[in-house]
């Protein structure tokens, strides 16, 4: 009896139960697929303002141009970086030229351009105002500010 059982065990070898592992793996995949929200390359990483009881809403704007105002890195003393979407930092004049082109392209399709200002919360108002003035001189009438959604500090 014992010999038969031993032989049976030897023939079976060491078993590896895949079922619970696959269960867990699928669970993780479903979790990540539902939770993932791919960040746009236009949204350059920065510390955004977290207003008290933020009213900011997640909306998708079609004809928008994002102006990122960042603290220059790694040396913050170098001033502010202005960049349109994922483009490299540029001077206000170059930014203005980009906006003019974007406005022209939107106007050709009969649509208005919306300027979205994403600015680091540690910047001074004067720094962000430079971006607003660029928007203003291009006569773009619609502007939006970016802040964190939800409860702020």
């Amino acid at each position: 009896m014992a010999v038969a059982a031993d032989r049976q065990r030897r023939h079976r070898g060491i078993g590896f139960n895949m079922t619970p592992m696959i269960d867990v793996v699928f669970l993780l995949i479903i979790f990540f697929m539902l939770v993932s929200n791919f960040a746009s390359a236009e949204n350059v990483p920065m510390e955004l303002p977290k207003p008290f009881k933020s009213q900011a809403k997640q909306v998708k704007l079609r004809d928008r141009v994002i102006i990122n105002c960042q603290i220059s890195e790694p040396d913050a003393t170098q001033g502010v970086w202005y960049r349109v979407g994922p483009n490299p930092p540029e001077s206000p004049r170059q930014i203005s030229a980009r906006l003019a082109r974007a406005k022209k392209a939107a106007a050709a399709e009969g649509r208005d351009l919306i300027a979205v200002i994403r600015a680091d919360r540690r910047l001074r108002f004067a720094d962000v105002r430079v971006a607003m003035e660029i928007v203003s001189e291009n006569q773009i009438e619609q502007m939006r500010l970016v802040a964190h959604v939800g409860e702020g500090e």
Partner: protein, 173 residues
């Protein structure tokens, strides 16, 4: 008609371990008739792991960001709001380098809110006065050295108070 598989199984040498495995397989096959279709788990698990590793490596959890509607500063562009006689001018002054170093001042009103929560309440309360409603323009005038965060906080306070005409003003306002 004889089964070709069983024939091949019976043809192998019945003494060695290979023959034992073949016999075992044959036994299992006979025991479960009608299991001709089988699911190949290996490629599925490959893909699944690939996806899992992709998500594990690519995911970075970030706070969601949203948009606040805004109007341009009135000094440097065409006016986006037709101003009536009595706009509410909210001044934001910097009192230090830290984000919490600011002071709120409201022109021509006795009540002076200290926090942005109080500012929201103030903007709601003034609608009890004649000539003020949700359409009354709120002009935010920030000093140049004020940090961006309190400026956005101030704007957010006005949006919370359901003010419809909010704009930035120049310092000469």
């Amino acid at each position: 008609m004889a089964n070709p598989t069983s024939r091949s199984a019976s043809n192998v040498d019945s003494t060695g371990p290979a023959s034992h495995t073949a016999r075992h397989r044959e036994r299992v096959r006979r025991r479960r008739p009608g299991t001709g279709m089988s699911l190949h788990l290996a490629p599925m698990i490959d893909v699944t792991f690939l996806l899992l590793i992709f998500f594990l490596l690519s995911t970075t959890f970030r706070r969601a960001e949203g948009i606040l509607g805004a109007n341009l500063p009135r000094e440097s562009g065409p006016p986006s709001v037709a101003l009536p006689i009595s706009p509410v001018v909210v001044r934001l002054l910097s009192t230090g380098p830290a984000p919490g170093d600011y002071a709120i001042q409201i022109d021509n009103f006795e009540a002076q809110p200290v926090t942005f929560g109080e500012l929201t309440q103030f903007l709601i309360d003034i609608r009890r006065n004649e000539g003020f409603d949700a359409q009354t323009p709120v002009v935010i005038v920030a000093s140049v050295d004020t940090l961006w965060e309190p400026v956005v906080d101030c704007w957010n306070a006005a949006v919370r108070a359901a003010c419809k005409n909010i704009s930035f003003g120049g310092e000469g306002e």
